[in-house]
């Protein structure tokens, strides 16, 4: 059974690097490019195991999406959230709400190693 990871990132290049790292570990990867689409996807689709959430997004900010995940979306209670941001301050502000914070530039290897550890071992 494949394990789903959702990348919410407006930069196509970064998204494709993250996707490659996650796929390398064995995740099935879905990608949305803005805040509004991300909210719609989180409401309706199957809950992902992991969300890679950028803080700077068009329409709805990563911070708002994170707050929604925690407050409203009960079906996402078990989903892990990794915040990605270039702003260390923002990382500190939202750090308590997320499972992990990664400060950009995010190393391909670091992301691959971290997610590899998080991914449940297949039987």
């Amino acid at each position: 059974m494949s394990i789903l990871a959702l990348i919410i990132e407006d930069d196509e290049d970064l998204a494709s690097i993250f996707a490659e790292a996650l796929r390398g570990v064995g995740f099935e990867v879905e990608h949305v490019t803005d805040g509004r689409l991300a909210e719609a996807r989180l409401k309706n689709g199957p809950p992902p195991f992991l969300i890679l959430l950028d803080m700077h997004l068009p329409h709805v900010s990563g911070g708002d999406i994170l707050a929604n995940i925690i407050k409203k979306e009960e079906h996402l209670a078990k989903t892990m959230v990794i915040l990605t941001t270039a702003d260390a301050r923002m990382g500190e502000t939202y750090g308590e709400m997320a499972d992990f914070v990664m400060i950009k530039p995010i190393s391909f290897v670091q992301l691959r190693d971290l997610t590899s550890r998080l991914k449940p071992k297949e039987e």
Partner: protein, 570 residues
């Protein structure tokens, strides 16, 4: 009338003694004139009442005497006014003495009722001629009395003559002491005048100085571009300069002699700014500075209380400066920084990620040259990212936007992270990175983990850059009381002593720009120093050429209570 009499009686002279004597003589002359006229009237009344058709020879002589006496008085008066009061006095006294000889019978003059007449010139002489002159007239009177006595066959009356001289002595003494007293009085007056003149001059000089000072202050106030309003203790504006008028676009009449609250209630002032200005009024806060928005302008406001020399508060001075342009530039700068931060770092992150993917052979095996090239792309990109981060930090610090956020920090974790970040950098250059932690250091401290990490990374990066062989050692130490610190030492080429004072300067490296062999903006140490002072700490450097360099940072220690919290990421 009074001034007319004064004019008649006065004598034109600059000598005050002469004037006094002349005036006294004139008064006597006036008295004599009046008595002569009364005598004349009495004679006329007598002649009219006697009913005689012809006038007696005696009466004729009397009338003649009165006329001569009157003319004499008039002549003396003229001498007194025009020539000399002393000569006039002498003439008057001689005339008086001469007249007395004919006022009574010789017997009465020598031994009887009219003898006293001769004492008059003696007493008067000391007053109107000169104090010793009483002796002269005592002598003259004595001679006359002796001569008259001889003319009727009598011996001179020795008692009378010695009485004349006694009187002369008394007159002389009293006139002399009067003159001395007057002289002293004049001297005192002169001194007093002198003092008054001096005081007046000093007063006028100090008034002049005050006027000059006030004028200068007014000129300064008028010429400065900042708007200034001076308030009294009750916040009524007592003074405002022309600049404030242009700045607030409000006529001075609406500011001066009005209470500050009227200006604060002006509709052009934004509500938040209004609250700030009310706060100064209510709290009488000591020198404060903040910004307000007034009709689209940004004004920086600083207020300071004014004290007199008895340390009593006598009011407040508020200075307004047009800060609109600076505020715009600041806003532009922070927007620019945000854009650069995002727009430069995002593509660099992508380059770094793709290079890493090559390096990790994500799309199949790569030959050695390709891996090497990917490695170089990564290194250069990281360097570029480092430089951008330094520039952004510097820009933020200059804008005062970089703040320190205190949270629990585990010193051990700082070193773990440092090793994970810098081990490779050091080993790539053949250097060893070692570290130790003081056992006395608490497990968790309050601090800004990200900024402490940045300080460590910058110092180690710097050490790696300037060390060709050997090792770099990082130590975290405890220093009593309530201090802790970071020590970073290397075995590099050291810093020449002459350069030590400048190593924390922005954009500075020890080598000149043309000869530099080490990359970078020269911002690393400057950022470290600024971060350390933001954390209320201090940094020192010890170094000698070819003996390595040691940076020592001392920081205030705030022990964190939440030591049990798990801070590890994974």
């Amino acid at each position: 009338m009074r001034s007319r009499i004064d004019q008649i009686l006065s004598v034109p002279t600059s000598d005050p003694d002469e004037a006094r004597r002349g005036r006294l003589l004139n008064i006597l002359l006036l008295g004599e004139l009046v008595s002569a006229l009364l005598g004349l009237i009495a004679v006329i009344v007598y002649v009219t009442n006697s009913g005689k058709s012809s006038i007696d020879a005696e009466i004729q002589i009397l009338l003649g005497g009165i006329v001569i006496f009157t003319l004499g008085i008039f002549g003396i008066y003229q001498v007194n006014r025009r020539l000399s009061s002393r000569v006039a006095a002498l003439l008057f006294l001689l005339l008086l003495t001469f007249i007395f000889v004919f006022t009574d019978s010789t017997e009465e003059l020598v031994n009887g009722r009219s003898l006293f007449l001769f004492t008059l010139p003696i007493a008067i002489a000391s007053l109107i001629l000169a104090p010793p002159a009483s002796f002269l007239f005592a002598a003259i009177s004595s001679l006359i009395v002796a001569w008259l006595a001889a003319s009727i066959g009598l011996a001179p009356n020795v008692f009378v003559i010695s009485g004349f001289f006694m009187l002369a002595l008394v007159s002389w003494l009293s006139a002399r002491s009067l003159e001395q007293a007057l002289q002293e009085l004049r001297m005192i007056n002169a001194n007093l005048d002198h003092v008054v003149i001096e005081r007046t001059q000093a007063l006028s000089e100090s008034l002049e100085r005050e006027r000059t000072e006030a004028g200068r202050n007014q000129a300064i106030l008028n010429s400065i571009a900042d708007g200034v309003i001076v308030f009294d203790r009750k916040w009524n504006a007592t003074l405002a300069n022309p600049a404030i008028k242009g700045m607030l676009e409000v006529p001075l009449e609406l500011i001066v002699n009005k209470n500050f609250s009227e200006l604060i209630e002006h509709p052009r002032l934004q509500p938040t700014s209004r609250r700030l200005l009310y706060a100064i009024m209510e709290h009488d806060t000591q020198p404060v500075g903040f910004r307000i928005e007034w009709a689209g302008k940004t004004l920086s406001v600083s207020a300071a209380q004014v004290y007199n020399n008895r340390s009593e508060n006598i009011g407040t001075v508020i200075v307004f400066r047009d800060f609109t342009r600076e505020a715009e530039v600041e806003k532009l700068k922070s927007t620019f920084v945000a854009i650069v931060s995002h727009e430069l770092r995002t593509p660099l992150s992508a380059i770094l990620g793709y290079a890493e993917m090559f390096n990790e052979a994500v799309y199949g095996p790569m030959n050695e040259k390709q891996v090497n090239m990917a490695d170089r792309i990564m290194k250069n990109t990281q360097r570029l990212l480092g430089l951008i981060n330094d520039l952004l930090d510097q820009a933020q610090m200059e804008a005062g936007k970089l703040t320190i956020k205190m949270a629990p920090v585990r010193p051990a974790e700082l070193l773990e992270n440092l090793h994970s970040l810098m081990d490779k950098t050091a080993s790539d250059k053949g250097l060893r990175l070692t570290s130790d932690i003081d056992d006395n250091l608490p497990e968790a401290l309050n601090g800004d983990a990200a900024r402490l990490q940045q300080v460590l990374v910058n110092l180690v990066n710097n050490a790696v850059k300037f060390t060709d062989q050997g090792s770099i050692h990082v130590g975290l130490f405890f220093s009593a009381p309530k201090k802790w610190g970071i020590r970073v030492s290397d075995t590099g080429h050291g810093i020449p002593e002459s350069e030590l004072p400048y190593i924390f300067d922005t954009f500075r490296q020890v080598e000149g720009t043309a000869t530099r062999v080490h990359g970078g903006f020269g911002l690393g140490l400057s950022i470290v120093k600024q971060l350390v002072s933001l954390m209320n700490g201090e940094i020192k450097v010890q170094s000698k050429t070819d003996m390595g360099t040691t940076f020592i940072i001392n920081l205030p220690m705030i022990v964190s209570e939440s030591t049990k919290k798990d801070w590890t990421l994974s």
